[in-house]
Amino acid sequence: MAYKASKNPTTDLRERLFIPELLRGLAITTRHFLRNLFNPRDTNTQVVDRKGANLVSTVSYPEEKTPYPPGYRGLHRLVPRDDGKPRCVACYMCATICPAQCIYIEAGEYETGDPAGESRVIEKFPTQFVIDELRCIVCGLCVDACPKDAIRMDTGLHVPSEYTRSGFVWDIPKLLQGPPVSHPSDPWNKRPGSAPPQHQHREAHTRIGEGLVPLKLPGGEPHKRTEVTDQAIPVTRFLKE
């Protein structure tokens, strides 16, 4: 229903005298003032459930936090295996589907003759897995796309604040967190001949560049790795290289 503005509003004596209306207005503010002054504030984060005479409806954030709804996702993580290495097999599906193009992956390959390798069951692993948290739009498509349940958004955390932009470029040591996940269908559990892997911890979950298997590139030159430094590195630079 539209509000009907009248050119001839009915005003009674009280409104034309002005002062009684002023006093009534002051009474309203004073009533609010006294109620909020003398009554303790209910800190229930569900504001509609607050009890008491105090009318303040603020949730004073750092001290009081509204619990997130059950469907809340939060910061993503790289899911570790039981042995602590990432489940990721560097298939690039997440990086391909990401609408914000914030995921950058470099794949490494196990040496065929390496006895410590796991070439029987897994061929690839990420030597770099970088997410620019400033570009991520938390859509969750990477989680849906992952065939290996290797990336999840189940932490319920926010991205912590940083002083530099490069601090928001998260690599494997920061992303690999949370409880390990194992499925019966995982190849190292499924294949009868597969013994528990005898690998050395020289892959991606260790510090980047530490005991890394050098990639074999067509030119034969050693793989040039991108060092994570304190300087701002936009993730687009990874992508355009």
Binding site: T10, L13, L17, P20, G25, H32, N36, N39, T58
Partner: protein, 469 residues
């Protein structure tokens, strides 16, 4: 629990006021004839400036409470016992002061260097000078003899008591416009100039109503000296014959608000417009032009702001002195209190109690002013001018004639008080009248009781309403 801590805080504030007032009397008694020095320091720098400083916090905190918010509570001091306790945001006073003092003091290159610096001073100085003639406590004989400090002299908490009293207020209050208009002009900025012009036109138009609103009080007590006006207000209009035990003489005092309710409204509205605070803050108008201080930063802007709050305190003090009986309790208790303390040579204690009561009234009026500022929206510019010239000025003139006639008719002021109390009662009755339920006008129309314009009004009950139109 919270109510208890609020009451403790209020008691603490009253206690601090009492201690400062007692100190003012004792030091004044020790100084003897030079008591004005201690009054100058303690009343102006101690009371007015400290209250004005804390009003900057109160404005934000109280407005938050009126609007169901929490308000400033982030500043804390990292001291054991106080850690993490905002204490009602009281530390924001310190952070604000530090911010004001350490900000860059920027002056535009095109601004007039001399006048640009002079304007904040000219805006601030008259405000403080206004308070010189306001008496805070009665003149009592301070007599003590402690070790090598002796005192035996009459002391009143008033910086100076000239025989032109209220004329000083009129004269100095109109000087404050120089600061604002100079600030507007010297900034060499269109918006500042607009703000300065608005401020000067508004202040000059309300000057008239301000003066005329107080004429009635001066006529009633036949004086312009404020202590005389307060002494006149201690008289009882209707009171008990003798004293009723410790209550003393009980009755209705001849307070200015009972004698001059119309004068009170006119004066308060006009003085409120002089302080340039909402709803009269068109010169500032932060949503349209920033106002005459748009180019000011740092402590120069701080001076404009603190002078605004000092004006609030001083308006409250003048209103208390002229209309609310000054430091007296009024309705009783005065005669026994005075006799008890003067008979024991504790004049300073009596004075301190009265001065505390004065400041309590002032603080309540400060609250009223802040509540007005946070209740009503800003007037349009033409509304301000028409309120000043078309409503307040005729109202004040009519009030002067009616007051003069009633004083001539009955020099005991009782008929004046009867009219005044009737006016107050009329306004209160209108205020408390139940609002008509929604759709009430329609039913009136259906029954044909409303006039052609749909005004469903009761017949005007007489003189009180007439004096308002």
């Amino acid at each position: 629990m919270k109510a208890l801590s609020v009451l403790v805080a209020i008691g603490f504030i009253v206690g601090v006021i009492f201690v400062l007032s007692a100190l003012a009397y004792l030091v004044g008694g020790w100084l003897g004839g030079a008591a004005w020095v201690s009054n100058l320091l303690i009343l102006l720098l101690g009371f007015v400036m400290i209250i004005a400083t804390f009003l900057t916090l109160a404005e934000r905190k109280w407005s938050a409470m009126m609007q169901d918010r929490i308000g400033p509570n982030r500043a804390t001091i990292n001291v054991p016992g106080l850690r993490g306790r905002p204490l009602g945001g009281v530390f924001h006073v310190a952070t604000d002061a530090i911010k004001m003092l350490t900000k860059e003091d920027f002056r535009p290159k095109v601004a007039d260097p001399l006048l640009f610096g002079l304007a904040p001073i000219l805006a601030f100085a008259p405000v403080l000078a206004l308070f010189a003639v306001v008496p805070v406590g009665p003149v009592v004989r301070v007599k003590f003899d402690w070790f090598f400090i002796h005192a035996n002299s009459p002391v009143g908490l008033q910086v100076s008591n000239p025989n032109f009293g209220m004329l000083w207020i009129f004269a100095i209050a109109s000087l404050a416009v120089y600061g604002t208009s100079l600030a507007g002009w010297a900034s060499n900025n269109k918006f500042a100039l607009l703000g300065g012009v608005r401020a000067s036109s508004q202040m000059i138009s309300y000057e008239v109503a301000l003066g005329l609103g107080l004429i009635g009080v001066m006529m009633a007590f036949s004086s312009v000296r404020i202590p005389d006006l307060i002494a006149g207000q201690t008289a009882m209009l209707w009171g008990s014959e003798g004293e009723l035990g410790w209550l003393g003489k009980v009755g209705i005092p001849a307070w200015g608000i009972f004698l001059q309710p119309v004068g009170f409204i006119v004066f308060f509205a006009a003085a409120f417009a002089e302080t340039k605070r909402a709803p009269f803050d068109v010169p500032e108008g932060e949503s349209e032009i920033i106002g005459y201080f748009v180019e000011y930063s740092g402590m120069k802007f701080g001076l404009f702001m603190i002078s605004e709050f000092a004006e609030v305190v001083i308006l409250a003090a003048i209103t208390t002195a002229l209309f609310l009986g000054g430091w007296t309790f009024g309705f009783g208790f005065d005669s026994t209190l005075t006799r008890y303390f003067t008979s024991r040579d504790l004049g300073w204690l009596l004075g301190a109690i009265y001065a505390t009561w004065f400041w309590v009234k002032v603080l309540i009026l400060c609250y009223v002013q802040l509540a007005i500022r946070w209740t009503f929206p800003r007037f349009r510019y033409d509304q301000i001018q028409s309120l000043g010239w078309k409503i307040l000025l005729p109202l004040a003139l009519a009030n002067i004639f009616i007051t003069g006639a009633l004083i001539l008719l009955d020099p005991s002021l009782r008929s004046l008080a009867v009219v005044g109390v009737l006016e107050i009662g009329f306004v209160l009755a209108l205020t408390l009248k139940r609002a008509e339920p929604a759709g009430g006008h329609d039913s009136h129309d259906a029954h044909g009781t409303a006039d052609a314009h749909g005004h469903a009004t009761a017949p005007l009950p007489g003189a009180a309403a007439a004096s308002h139109h």
